[in-house]
C-alpha cells in the first residue's frame, strides 16, 4: 500500500486478505496452523471489522490474542499468545474440531483439485516421490471434522489447481477457496467460481485452472476492499505481513 502500489482491488494480497476476512462470521471459532500469515491477518481483520466476537485460535495456543506486533515468517510465534487469557494445546484444537466445535479451519494445498481436496504430501509416487512436500500437518484430521474449511493459496496456476492430485492428503468440508484470481465455493462436492477478483478475465481464470470451471461475463465480481477494510488492514498489520506469502 505504498505510493506506487496498484489500486487495492488490483493488489492480490489485499484482495485475498479482504476476501478471506469476509468469509468469517461473527461468533465463529476460527483456527489456523503453521505457515499461515494470510489467515492470521484475515482473522484479525474480521475481528476488527464485522466479527468482533469471533474467537481466534491459532496454533500457538492463544485464545483471542492481541499481539503487539505480527510475526513475520512463522505463525507459531509466541507473540501470538499476547493478550490471551487461556492456552490451548494443539491436541486441544484437534479435539475441539473432532467433536464438532470448530467452525472454521484455514488450510492450504500444494495441489488442489476440483473437489477441493488437497495434496501436501508428494509429487509423483508417495513412497518414491519425485518431490517430497512438507506434509499436510493437521489437514487430514481437520478437513473432515471442522464445520467449514477455507483453503487459500497465493499461486493460481494449472500446477496448483489440478484435475487430478498425485496424492490425496486430505478431503472434507471445504467451503471456499480463495486465490489471487477468484473465490471458489464448493457446491455438491465441486468447486465453482463464486466471484472473479476485479480485473481478472474469465479466460485468464480458465487458463490458470487445471480443472474445468464455468466462468463467463455473467460471473460475479469480488467486491473491492472497502475503505473501512483497508483502514482496518493497516491497523492490524502495519508491517504488511499479509504480503509475506507473495515475496
Amino acid at each position: 500500500m505504498s505510493g506506487d502500489a496498484p489500486a487495492p482491488e488490483h493488489d492480490p494480497a489485499v484482495m485475498m486478505a479482504a476476501a478471506l476476512s469476509r468469509l468469517l462470521r461473527d461468533g465463529e471459532t476460527v483456527f489456523h496452523g503453521v505457515a499461515s500469515p494470510l489467515p492470521m491477518v484475515a482473522t484479525l481483520l474480521a475481528k476488527r471489522t464485522h466479527a468482533p466476537d469471533l474467537v481466534y485460535l491459532g496454533i500457538a495456543g492463544g485464545t483471542d490474542p492481541e499481539p503487539r506486533r505480527l510475526p513475520d515468517g512463522s505463525t507459531v510465534d509466541p507473540v501470538l499468545l499476547e493478550g490471551s487469557r487461556s492456552l490451548l494445546t494443539l491436541a486441544d484444537l484437534f479435539d475441539l474440531s473432532a467433536r464438532g466445535r470448530l467452525d472454521v479451519a484455514f488450510l492450504s494445498g500444494v495441489q488442489i483439485d476440483g473437489a477441493g481436496r488437497i495434496n501436501m504430501s508428494a509429487i509423483g509416487d508417495f513412497a518414491r516421490p519425485k518431490v517430497r512436500l512438507p506434509g499436510g500437518a493437521g489437514s487430514a484430521a481437520l478437513m473432515p471434522t471442522a464445520k467449514r474449511v477455507i483453503l487459500w493459496r497465493t499461486k493460481h496456476d494449472p500446477r496448483v489447481f489440478v484435475d487430478r492430485l498425485d496424492f490425496v492428503t486430505a478431503a472434507g468440508n471445504v467451503d471456499r477457496v480463495v486465490t489471487p484470481l477468484c473465490v471458489f465455493v464448493r457446491r455438491d462436492g465441486r468447486l465453482e467460481v463464486e466471484s472473479l477478483h476485479p480485473g481478472v478475465t474469465p479466460g485468464e481464470l480458465r487458463a490458470a485452472t487445471g480443472f474445468a470451471v464455468e466462468v463467463g461475463p455473467g460471473t460475479p465480481r469480488t467486491p473491492p476492499p472497502t475503505a473501512a477494510e483497508l483502514a482496518a488492514l493497516r491497523a492490524v498489520d502495519p508491517g504488511e505481513v499479509f504480503r509475506s506469502e507473495f515475496r
Binding site: 503453521v34 510465534d77 494445546t89 484437534f94 473432532a98 493437521g138 473432515p144 471434522t145 506469502e245
Partner: protein, 274 residues
C-alpha cells in the same frame, strides 16, 4: 527424588542407533537443538524422528544421515525459509522414509503410549490417502457407532525436550506454548530435559501447577543455555534468521551442507554458544 543433572554428551550417548526419538517444540520454536547437534556429533544412525511439525531439527538429522525415518505431520521452515531441503533430498533419494502423519495422528499415537493401550481412535482421516499409505486401520465401534480409524501407539525410546527452567530433579517449566512436549514426556521410555537454566527450584513448591514436565517423568536434566538455538525460545531469544537462511541455502547442496555442518554445527557443539 534424585538429582538427575548430567551433561549433554552423556545424555545423548545413551541413545542407541535405530532409536525412536521424539523432539519437542514446533517448527521454528523451542526444538531441542543442542541435543540434536550432539546427536549429529555422535554420528547416530537409523533414528526414527517423531514430531508433529519440524523444521531445522528434523531437516538436519536427515541431511546428516542420522535419521532413517521421520514420523511427522509437517516438515518445513514455514513462510520465511520455505521447504526443508535436507529432508526433501533424503526422502527423494530413499535414504529417509517419510512416515507422514496428520499431526493429530502423532498425538493419537502418543496418547496410546501414554495410556498404555495398543492403539488410539482418531476422528477424521476420511477421504484421505494417508490411512492406506500408512497402514492405519479402521475398527468397528462395538457400541454401534460405525467405524473409526485407529493409530498404533508411538512409544519413543527417548524424548528430548528443551525448557526454559528446570530444577535438579528434572521438574521443567515451559514459557509460552507447550506444543507436544508434555505428551512426549509421558509417552517416552526415557526423557532428557535440556534447560536454559537449572535453578534451585525451592520456589517450584509454591507453584507446582507451573511445572509442565514433572520430574517423575524425567531421567536426565542438562543445563544448556541457548539449547533451542538456532530456533527460538519464548522469553529468551527469537529464531536466528541469518543462520536459518544460511542453513536452508547450504542444505540444498550436499557439499555445501557438509561444509556448513562442519563449521557451524559441529563447531558449536560443546560450547553451546549462540
Amino acid at each position: 527424588m534424585r538429582d538427575k543433572r548430567t551433561d549433554l554428551a552423556a545424555a545423548v550417548a545413551a541413545v542407541a542407533d535405530g532409536a525412536v526419538v521424539a523432539l519437542g517444540g514446533n517448527t521454528l520454536h523451542r526444538g531441542p537443538c543442542a541435543a540434536v547437534h550432539e546427536l549429529v556429533r555422535q554420528g547416530k544412525r537409523g533414528l526414527e524422528i517423531v514430531k508433529t511439525a519440524g523444521a531445522y531439527d528434523v531437516d538436519l538429522l536427515c541431511a546428516t544421515g542420522c535419521a532413517a525415518a521421520v514420523s511427522a505431520g509437517f516438515v518445513g521452515f514455514e513462510t520465511a525459509y520455505g521447504m526443508a531441503p535436507g529432508y526433501r533430498r533424503a526422502v527423494e533419494s530413499g535414504a529417509v522414509e517419510a512416515r507422514e502423519h496428520a499431526c493429530a495422528t502423532v498425538i493419537a499415537g502418543l496418547r496410546a503410549a501414554i495410556q498404555g493401550v495398543p492403539f488410539m481412535p482418531v476422528a477424521g482421516l476420511t477421504g484421505s490417502d494417508l490411512p492406506a499409505a500408512r497402514g492405519f486401520r479402521a475398527v468397528a465401534d462395538p457400541y454401534g457407532g460405525g467405524e473409526v480409524f485407529v493409530v498404533p501407539a508411538i512409544v519413543p525410546d527417548v524424548a528430548f525436550l528443551h525448557v526454559q527452567e528446570a530444577d535438579r530433579f528434572g521438574n521443567g517449566r515451559i514459557a509460552g506454548t507447550l506444543f507436544e512436549d508434555v505428551l512426549m514426556a509421558k509417552a517416552a521410555k526415557r526423557v532428557v530435559l535440556t534447560a536454559e537454566r537449572i535453578v534451585d527450584g525451592a520456589g517450584f513448591a509454591e507453584e507446582p501447577a507451573a511445572v509442565a514436565i514433572p520430574a517423575l517423568l524425567v531421567d536426565a536434566v542438562v543445563e544448556a543455555p541457548g539449547g533451542a538455538w538456532p530456533l527460538g525460545c519464548a522469553g529468551c531469544y527469537e529464531p536466528d534468521a541469518a543462520y536459518l537462511a544460511a542453513y536452508t541455502r547450504a542444505a540444498k547442496d550436499p557439499a555445501a551442507l557438509a561444509a556448513f555442518v562442519a563449521e557451524r554445527v559441529l563447531g558449536q557443539v560443546g560450547a553451546q554458544a549462540r
